[in-house]
Symmetry: C2
Subunit: 240 residues, 2 copies
């Protein structure tokens, strides 16, 4: 049962250390850093203060895609109410969902850079947005504070001792979803439905739609089969 | 409706700044510092990062008693399960209680020094202990992180929009309770029930008992009347 914390493009190494401590306080140990500005760093070590083991075990990767490829559910932290329609969960709701999904495989809670937050491209790789309820006039939490609140809710959820319902088939992983989206995009380009010079957010919209559906492994295999069967004749011949 | 954050004997000024930010994120603005080691301090200002107004309005006082004299309910943060029997509330329960009591007057949530936490003397001035559920093997949160979790629960409580039940008579303030305890101690000394050379935690036990009872203003006046009526004859004559 892995609930992973992913920090993307963190600027201040102190926040990485404080995140490690916050995680360990709440019983979590799987930290992945996507392209941090400075790591390892003495300030990270100083702020970890008892959670140096979490810091030492942290993995550094180059992209969010690599950080979550094996995950069955991925939520990205974001201020509330973006203009795009996207499932939004409060920290409490996200902790509940993450705990339930973690019965099927690793899940990831993703936090963006201090100043800017997650990019729209990175948010498009998440199945849900996660927000922390705040006072409306001052909503920007320090990064490690945000991790603390969310991991606290995870701990509250676990301590409640409710067993999440078991799924019969495990959800598709983020990596399987990415392969599906690549396959789909390829097909839409070949079919000239998707115009590379004027993509009009088509792929982003399709990502959102399928993310909401939360396909399981079998369903994603069926979808891949459908895509393969729909390839234009000349391409299908190439493959044969 | 005031929910005050009181930091006692804070060592690192950065934690004071981070506390101010955490409070403002959750819509709180009343910060009282009891004998901080260094304040004001540039590190506090740096970490406040948008909450400089909360920092500027913070009051510095010399004792916890002064910080909470006007409060109708006071809870002190502490690791869970002290040996002394004392009402213990989780952060969520404390936020609920604090929100309800704040309809009657100011309430205070008190946090001790980074290394040692609140002293037993300071805890004796609280009506309840407040703990943050953590992983059992690593339970010591950073000070500002603890404030963030508790103020987050206050915000969640407020956002739930449930109206706390109104009390007919306001609770006694911490200052009124202190006057009562001083009066009681004086009487017990005069009656030679309390032996100053061997106090056996008597006052601490009485504090706990009356704290649990949560007397209102009328009740504390009645108790004071009883104490006055019980003064040994020679002392009563002195007063007349």
């Amino acid at each position: 049962m892995t609930i992973r914390i992913v920090l993307v493009g963190t600027t201040h190494p102190g926040n990485i250390g404080a995140t490690a401590r916050a995680m360990k306080n709440m019983g979590l140990g799987d930290l992945v850093l996507v392209a941090p500005r400075s790591f390892p760093h003495e300030e990270a070590t100083a702020r970890a203060s008892g959670a140096e083991d979490v810091l030492a075990a942290a993995r550094v990767v180059g992209s969010l895609e690599a950080a979550v490829a094996d995950c069955v559910w991925v939520a990205g932290a974001s201020a509330r109410q973006r203009s795009i329609a996207w499932p939004e969960l409060s920290a409490r709701e996200a902790a509940e969902k993450a705990t339930a999904e973690s019965a099927s495989g690793p899940v990831a809670l993703v936090f963006g850079p201090e100043k800017s937050g997650l990019s729209n491209d990175d948010l498009a790789r998440c199945q849900a947005l996660l927000y922390i309820p705040t006072a409306p006039e001052f909503s920007s939490l320090n990064l490690a504070m945000a991790v603390q609140v969310v991991t606290y809710e995870v701990q509250m959820q676990r301590a409640s001792g409710r067993e999440p319902p078991e799924r019969e088939v495990r959800p598709a992983t983020a990596g399987e979803m990415e392969n599906f989206f690549r396959h789909l995009e390829e097909l839409l380009l070949a079919a000239r439905f998707l115009d590379p010079d004027n993509p009009r957010h088509l792929m982003k919209r399709l990502r959102r739609l399928f993310a909401r559906a939360e396909p399981d492994m079998n369903e994603i295999n069926i979808l891949r089969g459908i895509l393969a069967s729909l390839a234009p004749a000349e391409r299908r011949r190439d493959r044969e």
